[in-house]
């Protein structure tokens, strides 16, 4: 990890403006759970006033890495540099717990092992006592969802799209980076992406060698593992002749478009420029071309943190949804849903509070369906409605477009 965090912390004016947006601080009001406080901890580490302890690890892990604080910081502090340094410091000084370490270092880089592990664990999930299951949600895929792992797909997305459907005269050729959640659980999202793009006369390749984007390992400060995964993904995608790379996962987009620039260096820039969130891609390349028959449902949109606060993407998914449905806005659409990462394990109670707020906003909007652009948020929000006997459905925005899209004769060779 670079050392520039040591100077980056000095940029913080300690003004406190990050208080206004940090989802964790808004719940707790605790200074140790917001960037300003954590920056002071980084400073104290640098100045050798404190050392790595369990407590410090908890405070570091209590950051959701949503990066919303960075969007309001008047001093231009790149908080991501600082939190990444803290995470890797925790990993280096306190180690990474054995199980995640094995997963990150040995299993994630080997697709066959990962497939196998998930199969096995989905069979044995009943072994984990019910009470603990709830608390272990979102630990890198192994222990997912309140229904623990929402049933694993029989056939992963990668297996399903082993062969590329060739189009006669495609307008473009794009690669799909599936990401783990979509590959193993929400295969229907991948199907929607491929279907919609094909119907827009865009050929979609799903490169088979692709691996996890590396977010789970970097969230725990294991940047070595992330680098390994990134190297493989780089090779896999660079070896294909692609006009663009799309993803339907906000976190994967952040990882491969933004974080890889640090992990892999400037050599990744030209690939990074070609990476798009699925709505962003459609809005940019097909915006005026496609026809829809809007579905007869009120649909609202939840902004995933990694799309809105990291990339500033907010109009594009809404444009797609406005063409595909009776779109209604919710209040606090950009408020975190609480899902994602190690945070949900350590601060399960806070996760639930954030989720409750989100669910309430969605309900107030009067929508029949909430759409979003991240399978992690889909899982979290669906969980929020699961126990509530609610009729509100949770889905990915591409699936709404899939339903509304009208074939206009661009590509009829199905």
């Amino acid at each position: 990890m670079s050392t520039d965090w040591k100077t980056e912390v000095d940029k913080c004016s300690k003004c406190g403006k990050c208080h206004t947006v940090c989802p964790v601080f808004l719940e707790t009001g605790d200074e140790s759970m917001v960037s300003r406080g954590r920056i002071s901890l980084a400073e104290a580490l640098r100045d050798k006033q404190i050392v790595y302890t369990d407590k410090l690890r908890d405070y570091v892990y209590s950051c959701k890495k949503c990066m919303r604080c960075r969007t309001v910081c008047p001093s231009g502090v790149d908080y991501e540099v600082i939190i990444s340094a803290l995470l890797s410091g925790v990993a280096e000084n306190m180690g990474i717990p054995l199980l995640p370490r094995i997963i990150f270092r040995y299993i994630l880089p080997r697709r066959i092992l990962f497939d196998l592990m998930l199969k096995v664990s989905s069979k044995i999930q009943w072994l984990i006592p019910m009470k603990r299951r709830g608390q272990m949600r979102h630990l890198p895929l192994l222990f997912m969802g309140k229904r623990w792992i929402p049933t694993l797909a029989k056939k992963t997305a990668l297996q399903k799209f082993r062969k590329t459907k060739k189009l006669k005269n495609p307008k473009m050729r794009v690669g799909l980076f599936t990401g783990c959640l979509i590959n193993y659980i929400y295969v229907d999202i991948a199907e929607a992406v491929v279907d919609v793009l094909n119907r827009m006369n865009i050929e979609v390749v799903v490169p088979q060698g692709q691996l996890c984007c590396g977010t789970p390992s970097s969230t725990m400060g294991d940047f070595k593992s992330t680098k390994k995964l990134a190297d493989v993904n780089k090779e896999v995608f660079e070896s294909q002749k692609l006009d663009a790379i799309v993803t339907a996962c906000a976190t994967c987009t952040k990882a491969i478009k933004m974080d890889y620039l640090r992990t892999l260096g400037p050599s990744w820039q030209s690939m990074s420029d070609k990476i798009y969130d699925i709505s962003e891609f459609i809005d940019k390349y097909c915006g005026d071309e496609y026809e829809t028959k809007p579905i007869d449902e009120k649909v609202t949109y939840h902004d995933p943190c990694h799309l809105l606060w990291v990339r500033g993407i907010s109009d594009e998914p809404r444009n797609v949804l406005k063409k595909s449905s009776d779109f209604v806005e919710m209040d606090q659409a950009g408020a975190c849903c609480g899902g994602g990462g190690i945070f949900t394990i350590i601060h399960y109670d806070l996760t639930l509070k954030m989720l409750e707020r989100k669910v309430a906003s969605i309900e107030r909007s009067g929508a029949d369906t909430v759409a979003t652009n991240c399978p992690g948020c889909v899982m979290q929000i669906a969980d929020g409605f699961a126990g509530k006997n609610s009729k509100i459905k949770t889905t990915h925005s591409i699936q709404i477009l899939q339903k509304a899209l009208v074939d206009s004769g661009i590509n009829k060779e199905k």
Partner: protein, 466 residues
């Protein structure tokens, strides 16, 4: 600046006593938590021995009375956005974080009053009042994140001062925990009250040195229907001052805000601002007027014309709320953006009679040149208020020259008939300068008053007076 680390000096027995009285979950002795409560927006740092985060007046009272028995300093803290070191626990002891006391207890629209706990964020109160079409005018740049408790303890000013005054003008009544743990109520929830000495006013601006504010009753006003905003860039400060006088003195207009920013500040925000700032701009004026729609439109166009008459380089009138926010964002980001120039700054908030601003600014820039130290100025110029920022990189020698420069400037300010601080408070940052403005006898009276409330001196020691 100063950095101190305190060892955990609270005896185990006292720690237990505190935990029993207010709950273990509200008492933090780990170094990590203590580091997070060691600073404010001056960037000064001193690690407290304990952090306590009470939820009620009773818990505050228990904490304070135990601390008093054992001579442990108490440093009340709102959001730690202060600019004079007020919530930095420079003598160690307990950092008393009041952010968990954040209920709006009662908003009474017919009485035009609201009672809140101290940890309520200023903007949350304003938003709540707006739901009733009411208005809490004081608007510090930190309104989105500072607390009402901190605002009252500092007598915070802000952007609307030109028309609506400062925090003091809105505080009607207080509930206060005194150092012996007793709870008193000052003032009355009526819009006027003169029964006895004005203890409320005495506590406003007391910087946490007399007691802990646990409930605050504030006056509200009817919400103006409309706010209009003009941004006007000028080539130099002279033109700014001519325009200001023309608006207020010659044309008798009464803006809600009249904010000035100088060339160095413009340099710091240029680029990050959405607004395109003219290359040759040496200063800007940001002006708000409020009232009914017709008057606002009228005043705005008159003010714009007056700025042009006084050789404005460019003026922009906000047409939408978003445009207004964008213009104000430029102004609000000035202070923190100055850290882009250097890692340290000394911030003062002096005020002079309106007619003396030209004279004092001339002195400030001259002195900056003499000491070869960069100075930047911005502020509520309509009221003669200036945020003086001395910007520098850390280092012992530098500290010394900065100190000399600041004291020289403040001497001039007092000589001209001004005050060394008009909204951020004295804290410890300006404690050594208070003698420039107050006579020894006056300081003695103040110290005697403090002793009466806080005989053992546990409340925020080291602040205001050395």
């Amino acid at each position: 600046m100063k950095q101190e680390t305190h060892n955990n000096k609270i005896q185990a027995k006292v720690f237990e006593e505190l935990c029993d009285a207010i709950g273990r979950e509200n008492v933090f002795d780990n170094i990590e938590e203590r580091v997070c409560y060691s600073f404010d927006a001056t960037k000064e740092k001193s690690i407290p021995d304990l952090v306590i985060r009470p939820h009620s007046t009773e818990q505050v009272s228990n904490t304070v009375s135990i601390a008093n028995q054992h001579n442990i300093p108490i440093c009340p803290r709102g959001a730690g956005t202060g600019l004079s070191g007020g919530s930095v626990p420079i003598k160690g002891g307990i950092a008393l974080d009041l952010k968990n006391m954040n209920r709006i207890v009662e908003l009474n629209a017919r009485d035009l009053t609201v009672t809140v706990e101290p940890g309520v964020v200023t903007k949350d109160l304003q938003d709540e009042a707006a739901k009733h079409r009411l208005f809490y005018p004081p608007e510090p740049g930190s309104a989105g994140f500072s607390t009402i408790g901190g605002n009252v303890a500092e007598c915070t000013g802000g952007m609307t001062g030109m028309k609506y005054g400062v925090t003091r003008d809105y505080v009607l009544a207080l509930e206060i925990v005194l150092p012996d743990g007793s709870v008193i109520n000052t003032g009355s929830k009526t819009l006027r009250s003169v029964a006895g000495y004005d203890l409320t006013r005495f506590f406003v601006g007391s910087e946490g040195t007399l007691g802990v504010l646990t409930k605050i009753t504030l006056k509200l006003l009817p919400l103006p229907a409309k706010i209009g905003t003009v941004m006007s860039y000028f080539k130099d400060i002279d033109s700014v001052l001519n325009a200001t006088d023309s608006i207020i003195v010659k044309n008798h207009l009464h803006p809600r805000s009249l904010e000035f920013v100088d060339k160095t500040c413009i340099g710091a925000v240029r680029g990050s601002a959405e607004e395109t700032i003219p290359e040759e701009a040496g200063a800007f004026l940001l002006i708000d007027v409020d009232g009914n729609e017709k008057n606002v439109a009228n005043d705005i166009s008159r003010i714009e014309a007056l700025c042009r008459e006084n050789s404005a380089l460019k003026t922009s009138i906000a047409k939408t709320d978003d445009e207004r926010d964008a213009l104000w964002d430029v102004r609000k980001s000035v202070s923190p953006s100055l850290f882009k120039i250097a890692s340290m700054k000394f911030n003062d908030d002096f005020c002079v009679p309106r007619s003396k601003v030209r004279e004092v600014l001339k002195k400030v820039y001259e002195l900056g040149k003499t000491y070869s130290i960069q100075v930047a100025a911005f502020g509520h110029i309509g009221e003669g208020h200036i945020h003086l920022n001395v910007i520098y990189n850390d280092g012992k020698e530098m500290d010394l020259s900065v100190h000399k420069l600041v004291s020289q400037i403040l001497k001039e300010v007092v000589l001209i008939g001004g005050t060394i601080t008009s909204e951020h408070g004295v804290g410890d940052a300006k404690a050594e300068f208070i003698g420039l403005e107050l006579a020894p006898h006056e300081i003695e009276i103040m110290k005697d008053l403090k002793k009466m409330f806080d005989p053992k001196g546990i409340m925020n020691p080291g602040k205001i007076f050395i």
